[in-house]
Symmetry: C2
Subunit: 302 residues, 2 copies
């Protein structure tokens, strides 16, 4: 790959920014990578791991002369960061973000973007339950989707940013912000809230000890605990900022759950069997689409 940006500024140095830094360096996609994080310790670790060529104590300094600025902070922190960096952005720079919700980020960031600077919201559908400057790795985006939001941006900067994501191993799709927020409410935000809830219920149940929950977790619960180990601050902000879509999907989920509970209560085995047969097909589609392996998940139990 050839260099796409002479200077990239990463604001926030967690899992996503750290993985982007390593993937950009591997691909020779960026000239200089400048970083800023709120905590000095995070910046120290980022330098030790070679994520950045240099770090700056303030976001204002970090974005100076940057051709691409990546906002990789929790969604709730986007507005303040945007307000601070706005006046310091290089003319004709591109600003993007990696937040998990898009409409709220646009509302928070766009007002602070000066004339001549292009803002292209983005969201790589990749990550792990781990967080922090030590958690990133260059392979994180391989074969994952990076979603870019086009609400009327010039083609050249959009194409360049798409090339960057492809250079980091991702596939790129472009959609509008509201559809993104609905799709993610289904594929990510609601499942996460549900997993957090189920783990919380288990923890509350005094007749079943945490010890038992932990020992016997291979029985299916384990995947929920993995999801429910994700970064609390990030997820708080996701739910507060994708409120309507998440609550709508959770409403449908509850309706559906009640229908299945009723089938259990009334002993309607045919309804349950038909339902479980239908959901199996979606799994096959995901394996065929290469978004997961068909290999059995060793150790899930009944």
């Amino acid at each position: 790959m050839s260099r796409l940006y002479d200077r990239v500024a990463l604001i926030g140095l967690g899992l996503i920014a750290g993985s982007m830094a390593l993937a950009m360096k591997r691909g020779g996609l960026a000239g200089e990578i400048v970083g800023h994080a709120r905590s000095a310790e995070t910046m120290k670790v980022a330098m030790e791991r070679g994520l950045c060529d240099r770090v700056c104590d303030t976001p204002e300094e970090a974005v100076a002369d940057a051709d691409l600025v990546v906002l990789a902070v929790p969604v709730g922190a986007m507005s303040e960061i945007a307000a601070r960096i706005g006046p310091h952005l290089k003319p004709d720079a591109t600003v993007t973000d990696v937040g998990s919700v898009k409409r709220a980020v646009i509302d928070a960031v766009a007002p602070h973007i000066p004339e001549g600077v292009v803002f292209i919201p983005g969201h790589p559908l990749a990550g792990t339950e781990q967080s922090g400057p030590s958690s990133g790795f260059a392979e994180l985006f391989r074969n994952r989707f990076a979603l870019l939001i086009d609400e009327g941006v010039p083609p050249e900067p959009l194409d360049r940013l798409a090339q960057l994501w492809k250079g980091m191993g991702a596939q790129v799709d472009v959609m509008d912000a509201d559809h993104h927020d609905l799709v993610l409410a289904v594929t990510s935000h609601s499942p996460h809230l549900i997993a957090y809830t189920m783990v919380g219920v288990a923890d509350d149940l005094s007749r079943v000890t945490d010890g038992e929950v932990i020992k016997y977790s291979a029985a299916g619960f384990r995947d929920f605990t993995r999801i429910a180990a994700s970064d609390p601050t990030m997820w708080r902000d996701v739910f507060l900022n994708n409120r309507e879509a998440t609550l709508e999907i959770l409403g449908r989920f509850t309706e559906e759950l009640f229908a299945l509970q009723r089938a259990i209560r009334t002993g309607d085995g045919d309804m349950l069997h038909d339902y479980f047969t239908r959901t199996r097909a979606i799994r096959r589609g995901i394996v065929e689409a290469g978004q997961d392996t068909g290999a059995p998940d060793f150790g899930r139990g009944q």
Copy 2:
């Protein structure tokens, strides 16, 4: 390991029975392994894979002279099988099962167990989302728990069956049937119903296509689809036969989910953050207990 049973009869030749056969052969734990399955095709595959030394067309023939009989059929089929094999069991044989619920299996099987035969209900907390005679593997039980139910059985047969499970790589815990059913409602049955429900909701939502759900599944939904790909017949029977405990846990789950939805609606970020922080601790416990790896799940996204 030394031989524990001269002849073992496997009734049902799916994932669990197939894995037991391979693990018993590897460990030299059984003299002869005799199998029966309802379908001739399943028995053919079982012989081709070397799961059994021989297969029998009827369960009555299969259990003749068997020292250990393993009922590895869906919970809903236990009663009929038990009624058929009861009169043909060898005096002082041991009968066990691998069903995911225990009280209902005891009610279905115990009445058909003749004087002198010992029935020890069991449940290995291991498996995958795959099923059938081709899906088993000898390593399935390694480091997993096998739960045995002791409602007043003689120590020698209980100890021998525990030795068998340990010889197949499992850790053994003994508990009573009702506690088992409650624990599994929390760690397995409710999470499975919830995963089935969420996948069904996604499939129903016309504004989000299945194509999008599949493409963007790395965002967390993927784990739900894996759980929701499990065998429909087995799971129908689980829910119909662990009705009370599952409905109780689902009731608590719904309460808790409503509380979190309310926090989202009212913007109570502190409540959400505290909740998500608490659930993270359980995950750490599971990793420390060796029931899952601490390695990040490559590709889960935000």
